[in-house]
Symmetry: C2
Subunit: 222 residues, 2 copies
């Protein structure tokens, strides 16, 4: 499964564990601004009893084209029309492709991803129709699949609101203090509170009527 | 476009150039045994007038599972039944995903790949049905595509025999001495002559009735 270290992927890991899966977690160090999410991924994997967590390095700043991979593009602190500049070209496709490779080597049939298409930023590669198309492609792509071991792309959060995700995670014992969602998190994992990801997360805790455990940076604490 | 430095991708580059495309070539340093193919990619890109050639590093030996990425699995020197152990899990999916990211940043609409499903090793991710499924997925994956700039996956060699590929390349001025196909090529790019890739290439020149310019390693020269 893909584990970024954020709220959604932590919840997805908890769901997969609750269904009895032994979870092999893949994180991608792609040169993202919020490198502290990778440390969060390690903490979350350990806390939720993952079988293993690996971080693979792939420098997407070589391509750029996103506020997360090009330091000359600022992270917006107010909502924007359309797909925001924090969109990273083909990121989920790249990460699912890597997880497909690892799944085949491990002999796994289920690939979990924390994609969500309700309270989200409009990224095209979070939508159910995209995930279905990836699954179809994956089942034509690998030796294992053509030999009859079909791959399933599992996105248990895809139709949940952020508040529903948080309530589900709390039920399953997720400690959201361990997670990092902020696109410009400090090295200590503290959150700006104003980026798109922070706004969705903060509103989720408010809607869920659950105290927000996020550590915000002093200047934006509220 | 994807450029490995082998015979097929060199021919694909020549075809794309002959159709008037400005070609941005992507090579993947994934820890393959035959690292000399990456130097071949640079030579081929320069010789055929590519606009640029970039090599991106992604260590697939972290996953293993292939004779090309695990030094404990030997490269076979005789034909085998089924998909051979030189198959690298999800390799074309990973490489096409990376090219999709770069294509979106560059504003390209055509992604060329030298996949071939006639004289090939049976790799599932070389077949037309796989490439069509990837194209469908890609057109749901990116901001650019959902905004109306459809991506096309172009595989001009997919239905050609190796001899037809070679004849087409010769017509277009490809110097096959610059290319490296061998899975266990020497550091100088010389070929073993016995691996699956060498056998297909060698037979292609024989069938095309064109002198084989490949530099073979002394012990296997014939």
């Amino acid at each position: 499964m893909l584990l970024s270290g954020g709220l959604d992927s932590a919840t997805t890991l908890a769901i997969a564990r609750s269904e009895g899966f032994a979870c092999h977690c893949l994180s991608l160090d792609y040169g993202q601004r919020h490198g502290s999410e990778l440390e969060a991924a390690q903490r979350v994997a350990a806390a939720l009893g993952a079988s293993e967590q690996r971080t693979i390095k792939l420098d997407l700043t070589a391509f750029g084209g996103s506020a997360l991979t090009d330091e000359n593009i600022a992270v917006p602190t107010a909502p924007s029309a359309g797909i925001p500049v924090t969109y990273v070209p083909a990121r989920n496709t790249i990460m699912l492709s890597l997880s497909l490779a690892w799944a085949e080597v491990l002999g796994c049939r289920d690939i979990f991803i924390g994609a969500n298409a309700v309270d989200y930023s409009g990224y095209p590669d979070c939508r159910p129709e995209y995930l279905e198309a990836f699954e179809k492609m994956a089942n034509l792509a690998t030796k294992s699949a053509v030999e009859g071991n079909a791959i399933r792309i599992r996105a248990p959060l895809v139709a949940l609101s952020k508040a529903e995700i948080i309530r589900r995670g709390i039920e399953l014992g997720v400690d959201y203090r361990l997670t990092v969602s902020c696109y410009q998190a400090g090295e200590d994992g503290s959150a700006c509170g104003t980026c798109d990801s922070c706004r969705l997360r903060r509103q989720g805790f408010i809607s869920a009527k659950i105290a927000d455990p996020t550590r915000y940076q002093p200047e934006t604490n509220s």
